[in-house]
Symmetry: C2
Subunit: 336 residues, 2 copies
Amino acid sequence: MPTPDGDSIGRAGELALIEALFHRQRELPGDVRLGVGDDAAVLAAAGTDDWVAAVDTVIDGVHALPGDDASALGWKAVAVNVSDLAAMGAEPRHALLAASLPAALGRDRAEALADGLHAALGEWGVALVGGDTTASAPLSLSLTLLGRAPEGTCMRRDGARPGDTVYVTGTLGDSAAGLALLSDPPPEWLAAYDWLVERHRRPRPPLAFGRGIRGAASAAIDVSDGLVADLGHIARASAVGIEIDPDRLPLSAPMGEWAWATGIDPARYALAGGEDFELAFTAGEDAFEAMHRAKYTADTRFTAVGRVTAERPGEVYGDGVPTDGGWDHFAPDGDR
Amino acid sequence: MPTPDGDSIGRAGELALIEALFHRQRELPGDVRLGVGDDAAVLAAAGTDDWVAAVDTVIDGVHALPGDDASALGWKAVAVNVSDLAAMGAEPRHALLAASLPAALGRDRAEALADGLHAALGEWGVALVGGDTTASAPLSLSLTLLGRAPEGTCMRRDGARPGDTVYVTGTLGDSAAGLALLSDPPPEWLAAYDWLVERHRRPRPPLAFGRGIRGAASAAIDVSDGLVADLGHIARASAVGIEIDPDRLPLSAPMGEWAWATGIDPARYALAGGEDFELAFTAGEDAFEAMHRAKYTADTRFTAVGRVTAERPGEVYGDGVPTDGGWDHFAPDGDR
C-alpha cells in the first residue's frame, strides 16, 4: 500500500485502504446477487430460513488500548458479532462495515486493520457485501453481521426454566486478565501471559458449538459484559433466578499461573471480566445427548457452573457473587 | 427524560436515552420474530424476495454542523439509508443502529436525537430491531437498513445503455445551499432560506418513486455526493458516457431566490452539491409509461438532464460541467 508519506495515510493511502478493506475478497458466495459497489447489497432468499442480524462497534481506545495492534481491532469487529450469532445458534453469512478512519491512521496500522478484518471474515466464511467509510477520528468499526437459522429455531434469552443447569463454554476471565496485562505489563513477562493477551485481542467465539446446541439449550447468551451481567439478562428475560457456584468456574492454566504470581482472585475475573466471547446457556437433562455431541463435533468444552431456580427471579446470586454484576470498566457498551 | 444534572445526560439519562432510542416502538411488524433485547434480531423469511442491505454513518460535525439540531442528525441517519434503498427500488423494513453517544451529550439533544430518529423510522415504516451503544465522542450513528425487493428486480448502476435519457427527481443543490446558509447566515433571513435549511436537515428521498420505476429504469443511483460524482458511478459501472445539459438542471424557487440575492451560480450547487438524496436514473423510451405512472402515484416530479452516450465511456461531461466532479467538501465519505 504505497503512500506519499509514512506518517499519515494520505489520499492515495486512503484509496488503498478502502481497496484493502472492501475489495480483497475475490469470490463471493452464490447467494450474493450484488456486493460492494452499488447503493446497497442484494442477497438472495434462503428458503424458509430466518434471517439473523446483529451489529456491534469496536473503537480504538475503548475496546482496545489506544494505538494497540490494529489487526486485533479488525479481527474483533467481526468476532464480537460472530459471538452474538453463536449465541443464537445461527450461521453467519454476510457483513456490512461502517468505518470511521482518522486521517492520521498511518500506513502500517491501516494495513494491519485490513489484515485482521479479513482474517476473521475468512475464519468464519463471511462475505463483506457493503459498507461506508468516513474520514473521522477515533478509529471506529461498526460491523453488521447477517446470518441464517432454520425457521423458528434460534436460541433466545427468555427460555430458561427452574431446574435447568447453567453452563459456560471454554474458560472465563482470560480476556480481562489479558487486558490487565497489556495495561500494566509485569516486570517478568511469561509465555503464559501472551496466551491471555491473545484471548483479549483475538477472541474465537464457539460458533459451531452454538449451532450444535440449538434446539437443545433452553436459553443462551454470549459472555461479553461478564458472566454475572450476562446471566442477569437471561434471569430477567426468563423471570428466573440463577445461582452460581463460584468454585466451579472454568479457569485456564495461564489464568491460574497469573493469579498465583500476582495474588489476584481469579474468580473475580471469571465472574465480572468482560469480552470472553464464550457462551453461557441453560439446559435441562433432555439436552444432555445433544450437548455432548456438540462438544465433540465442535471440539468445545463446557462446564456446569450453576442452576436455574424459581427463587429470586431476575437475580444472579451465589457465595461470593457480586450483586452489582461486577466492574463497569469492562463493559463500555451494550447490546440492545 | 429526568436526569440528575442538566449539562450531561448522566447514568440515569443514558438509560433513558437508550430507552428512547431503542424501545419507543410499541408494535413491531409480524415478520420480526425477535427485536431489540436479545443477542441478535430474528426476521422471518419473505418468500422468494431478495434482501437488500445498506449501511451509512452520520457524525455530528461531519454530516451536520457541530452541535446543530440533533433531531436532524437522527432523521438523517435513517434518510440516507432510505435513499440507498430508494435507488435500488427496494422496500425498507428493518433497521439496526450502532450509536456512539458522548457523555456530555446533554438532555435536550439526547431527546431531540431520539425524536428525529423515530420520526424518520415512522415516516418510512421501518422497525428498529437491534443495535449497540458505546459511550464515546463524537456523536455518531451508523444505521444498517434491511429491505426487500422481488427476486432479481433491483436497479443497479451498471445497466445504462447509449441512447437512454438521464433523469433526476426533485430539485438539485438545495441541501448544499442550506448548509451554506447554516454555516454563514445572511444578515436578512428570508423565509425561503428555512426551506433550503430544511432540505439539508431533513431530506426526504423519493422512496415510492424508486419502487415505481423498478423494472423500467436501466440504472439508478441516489444523489448523495453530488450529481456529477454520482452519475460518474453509473458511467463507470455501465461503461458509457453521460452528457449533461446544465441548462436543464431542476432548481427550486428558493434556490433561485438565494442565487439572485447572493450572485452565486446555482448550477454549481446543482451539479456538485451533495446530500440532495434525490434519484438519478437512466431509461429508454420503453420506460416512458412506467415513469409517468410512478410520477403521479408517488407524487414525484422528474426532469431529463442529459443522455447516455457511447462516447467518452466512464465520463460525465457537458458545457460547464466540472471535470473533477466538483467539491470534495460535500462528500466526506463514500459508499462501498
